[in-house]
């Protein structure tokens, strides 16, 4: 049911911290995954069991060091260790749903606490401003209230967030509504009835302007997205094509480490199959006249794209971790969008939608091979 959490003198963060504390005190949850403030204004992802530590909790920090899905996957594995909560943004929740379908995580015993996500900044930029990026929390919430881009004084949101089409965390059990938030009315929160009784909340519907604000944010993001994807697709089809986009790749595999969907224990490209013998490189070079060393840089990107493009939720972590600043997230979103459309599949939408590769229809892909 919909209820509101009272906010004293406009301090939204305090209200949320209190709410999270009560979740632990009431025994509803044994532990909650939530970022904690640390020295230098950083927001460090943590698993908190002591309600007192919730005082440092800062789920509103506009930064995402890791995609929370990876943490929850490690935490739950095949079965949640106990009654655990996790404060997650929408792209983290959607990635987690994909991981559940890949048997890498489970939602049993897990309570997802979702926040409307106005967007995040790159970690280094955020750190430079000791946590005051974008004019600090106040301006950030104000931007959320009016549906503006919270970026300011030369600092912009991560491109993935600027073009994100799912800022609201619909699949979460508990949902905080920050768009169009008027702190004086309290924070509108959607809570399962049982939990609401346990915590003593009663139904109250706040007729916030959230819907309109959400529409405004989505419209802006959609425009940004269409422009950005068109640009990268043009680059892909320009001379040199897709490979040219990865000329700067230094094979550090950061993008694979940061990506929530890349769940392999040991990536194929780090396994024995790819430490080739010397004569392999020589004969390959003889065949083609010249061979990019080490030869599997491009093959790695294409294979990773092949493995996860259907499940790519567009969280942009790959772009954020790429030392060569290759727009990996943009490329994978451009390809992923087409793959997902072809299968009529939206990653993270619901557990009931089977993974495209797992389903087989007799008369699928009849036009394979013919030029579209």
């Amino acid at each position: 049911m919909k209820t509101t959490i009272p906010v004293e003198d406009g301090d939204v963060l305090a209200a949320i911290r209190a709410f999270l504390g009560r979740l632990l005190e009431s025994g509803a949850l044994e532990a909650i995954y939530v970022p904690l403030e640390a020295a230098g204004g950083a927001a460090v992802p943590a698993l908190v069991t002591d309600p007192a530590r919730m005082a440092q909790a800062n789920p509103l920090a506009p930064v995402m060091p890791i995609n929370g899905a990876r943490a929850v996957s490690a935490l739950t594995g095949k079965k949640a260790p106990g009654r655990v909560g996790a404060v997650l943004r929408s792209c983290e929740i959607r990635a987690l749903i994909e991981l559940v379908k890949l048997q890498q995580a489970t939602l049993e015993g897990l309570t997802m606490i979702g926040l409307d996500c106005p967007g995040t900044f790159e970690v280094p930029r955020y750190m430079e401003r000791q946590g005051q990026a974008g004019g600090g929390l106040g301006d950030y919430l104000a931007a959320a209230r009016e549906g503006r881009d919270p970026g300011s004084d030369g600092l912009t949101l991560r491109t993935a967030c600027q073009m994100c089409l799912h800022p609201a965390a619909d699949q979460a059990a508990i949902r905080f509504e920050l768009f169009g938030l008027d702190p004086t009315q309290g924070i509108p929160v959607d809570i399962p009835d049982a939990l609401a009784e346990q915590l003593g909340y009663s139904a109250a519907s706040a007729d916030g302007a959230r819907q309109a604000v959400l529409e405004k944010v989505l419209a802006a993001h959609r425009a940004k997205r269409d422009g950005a994807l068109a640009a990268v697709r043009a680059q892909m089809n320009a001379n040199g094509g897709l490979p040219s986009l990865f000329n700067a790749c230094i094979r550090c595999h950061n993008c694979m480490t940061a990506c929530p969907i890349c769940y392999c224990k040991t990536c194929l490209f780090r396994s024995a199959s790819f430490d080739h013998k010397p004569d392999h490189y020589l004969s390959a070079a003889q065949r083609k006249g010249a061979l990019r060393m080490l030869s599997d840089a491009l093959l790695f990107q294409l294979t990773r794209m092949n493995h996860m493009s259907a499940s790519c939720v567009g969280c942009g972590m790959c772009t954020s971790t790429c030392p060569s600043e290759i727009p990996v997230g943009m490329i994978f979103s451009a390809v992923g969008e087409q793959v997902q459309a072809a299968f009529g599949y939206e990653p993270g939408r619901s557990l009931e939608d089977p993974l495209p590769l797992v389903t087989f229809q007799a008369n699928e892909w009849t036009e394979v091979g013919e030029a579209k």
Binding site: G77, K78, L102, Q103, Q104, Y263, C264, K265, T266, C267, L268, S271, S273, H280, S283, A284, R287, H307, L355, L357, V358, A362
Partner: protein, 581 residues
């Protein structure tokens, strides 16, 4: 100590089949220069005894540890050469064939490029041979017992055959009695003899066979294991039991088409309209409708069959003869009743059927070609509105009894059983056989067979034939006492496997399952057919198919993708090049 390959290459002329378009000598000489090759020969017929002797002598005298024969398709003579090398104690999986006949000489003209292609194929086989590992073909013992699901005539006949052959059989029947649909019949075509004693004899034998245990009001709840070693959970009444069997025969039968799905024929609305199964019951007592003997009886064919609009495009095969038989019964029981049959095609195809159809017409049954469109009420009679396509005009035939020849439909619970046994279903909804022409009773799952109408509409004769065929196929693993476990099957590297299950969803043979505790996938060597689909699907590259490992295949690709023309190795090959003896 490191393994150094000592490979023998044998290029076959196959009479003129290869030699006509491929320069066999050049290929042999070129092969001699390949790494690891110690001897390279060519011979007119490698598959002949002298040809095989060549290989065996070289293995003994030159200590070959890998052999490559370049000749025909492995489907033709791989077993022959594997037997030849293992006769001289070389592991059969240390042998590789290059198909330079079906894939080269038979499909290309005599030309330089054809010889070069042959060289590439031989080079690729040699590259793989260097990486081959010895493998053992295991035998798994089979439980000399069988399970039959379904107590109709198909299930009983299959069970009796296997029991007669000396094996324990458990028959599970959902209802409380044996006989299935045939139990509801009164007379059968083409002999018009009563089905009671026909069926009675079979039920009698089934209930009193010392090696056949019949469980009625029972159903299979779970099936584990694989061919030769199925463990089956059965719910019998309200207690459960486990049975271990070597083979399973599915004889779950069919459902009768619900004539209500053709509302314009008035079934369930007009009391005068009944179906052929209902008439079969009626014919065992007084044939009366609304209390009086009908004067005008009309049969309507193809109700629910050959009907794409209802999603039943198939022919139900038996209704033409059922109608002919029932028409004869009507003529017999109601001599002065007029009997009309509306049909599209009369399918009297079996032995004695056409003669029976002739006799039916001679008995005064009027066959009119037309597929009735609707039935309407007129006074106390029902009117069949149709077009007599031979007269070329619409007709209205009054009737006080209309019998709909309803077709056969897949059982409503086919899905459940299909899920239990991982069986596929063909587009008409019945169970799918492995091959419609040559393997009509096998399924994709080794050890599970189909009998009777669950695989498609059949009459009693064909059901008996298919049931006995299923029994024969099921007896093979039981009589051999063992099942050969193919060696070239998939194996999962537990270090790399993340347990994501993509491989299991792709495997059509159900060979891959999640290990209950270790959270990694496990491959069942008996079920695995070595097709390699899982290996390609696995993102982590954790699955390899023995004898077709990732490295072996990459080695072959490296050779084949080297498009430069293979030049004759200038250096004298250290291998001995022998011309045909």
């Amino acid at each position: 100590m490191t393994f150094t390959p000592r490979i023998g290459v044998y290029v076959c002329h196959c009479g003129i089949n290869i030699a006509a378009t491929v320069d066999v000598g050049a290929v042999t000489q070129w092969a001699a220069g390949l790494p690891g090759v110690v001897v390279s020969r060519d011979y007119t017929y490698m598959c002949s005894d002298p040809g095989q002797a060549l290989i065996q002598n070289d293995i003994r005298e030159l200590g070959l540890n890998r052999v490559v024969v370049a000749s025909c398709s492995p489907r033709m003579h791989e077993p022959t050469f594997r037997a030849a090398v293992s006769a001289v104690d070389l592991n059969p999986y240390c042998f590789e064939m290059a198909n330079i006949r079906e894939q080269c000489s038979w499909v290309h003209p005599a030309a330089e490029t054809t010889t070069q292609k042959a060289m590439h194929l031989v080079g690729s086989a040699v590259a793989k041979a260097a990486l081959l590992q010895p493998l053992e073909q295991r035998q798994a013992p089979t439980t000399p017992a069988a399970l039959v699901i379904g107590g109709g005539i198909a299930g009983m006949q299959a069970a009796l055959d296997i029991a007669d052959a000396g094996f324990e059989v458990t028959l599970v029947e959902r209802t409380s009695s044996l006989g299935g649909h045939v139990g509801l019949l009164h007379r059968t075509f083409p002999t018009l003899e009563p089905t009671a004693d026909l069926l009675g004899a079979i039920v009698e034998r089934a209930t009193h066979h010392e090696r056949l245990r019949v469980l009625t009001e029972a159903e299979v709840t779970a099936v584990g294991g694989f061919v030769g070693n199925f463990d089956v959970d059965i719910r019998h009444g309200h207690e459960k039991e486990k049975v271990k069997v070597g083979a399973i025969i599915v004889a779950s039968g069919f459902d009768v088409f619900d004539a209500r799905r053709r509302p314009e024929l008035g079934y369930g609305v007009y009391p005068e309209v009944i179906t052929t199964p209902e008439f079969e019951q009626l014919s065992q007592s007084e044939v009366k409708i609304n209390g009086r003997e009908p004067k005008n009886v009309v049969f309507i064919q193809c109700v629910g069959s050959r009907d794409q609009a209802l999603g039943h495009p198939y022919c139900s095969r038996v209704c033409c003869m059922v109608t002919a038989k029932q028409a004869r019964l009507v003529r017999e029981r109601l001599p002065n009743a007029r009997v009309t049959v509306f049909y599209m095609d009369v399918r009297a195809f079996g032995k004695g059927f056409e003669e029976f159809y002739d006799a039916t017409r001679q008995a005064g049954v009027l066959y009119r070609r037309g597929n009735p469109s609707e039935l309407i009420r007129r006074g106390d009679r029902v009117v069949v509105r149709a077009e007599d396509t031979l007269l070329g005009e619409p007709v209205e035939v009054e009737a006080d009894l209309v019998i709909l020849a309803v077709g056969m439909a897949p059982r409503a619970d086919t899905d459940a059983l299909a899920g239990l046994l991982k069986l596929a279903r063909s587009s008409d909804g019945f169970f799918m056989e492995a091959h419609p022409k040559l393997r009509p009773v096998d399924t994709a799952m080794a050890g599970i067979f189909l009998a009777g109408a669950c695989q498609g509409p059949k009459d009693i004769t064909e059901t008996i034939a298919q049931a006995r065929a299923a029994a024969a196929t099921a007896m093979i693993p039981l009589m051999r006492g063992e099942v050969t476990v193919e060696a070239a099957t998939s194996v999962v590297d537990e270090e790399l496997c993340a347990g994501c299950g993509q491989c299991a969803s792709i495997c059509t043979f159900g060979a891959l399952t999640l290990h209950p505790t270790k959270g990694v996938m496990v491959s069942n060597a008996v079920l695995c057919q070595g097709c390699g689909a899982c290996a390609t699907a696995c993102p982590s590259g954790a699955i390899n198919v023995r004898h077709f490992t990732f490295d072996q295949v990459m080695a072959q690709i490296n050779v084949v993708s080297d498009f430069r023309a293979p030049v004759f190795s200038a250096a004298p090959a250290e291998a001995e090049v022998a011309s045909p003896s």
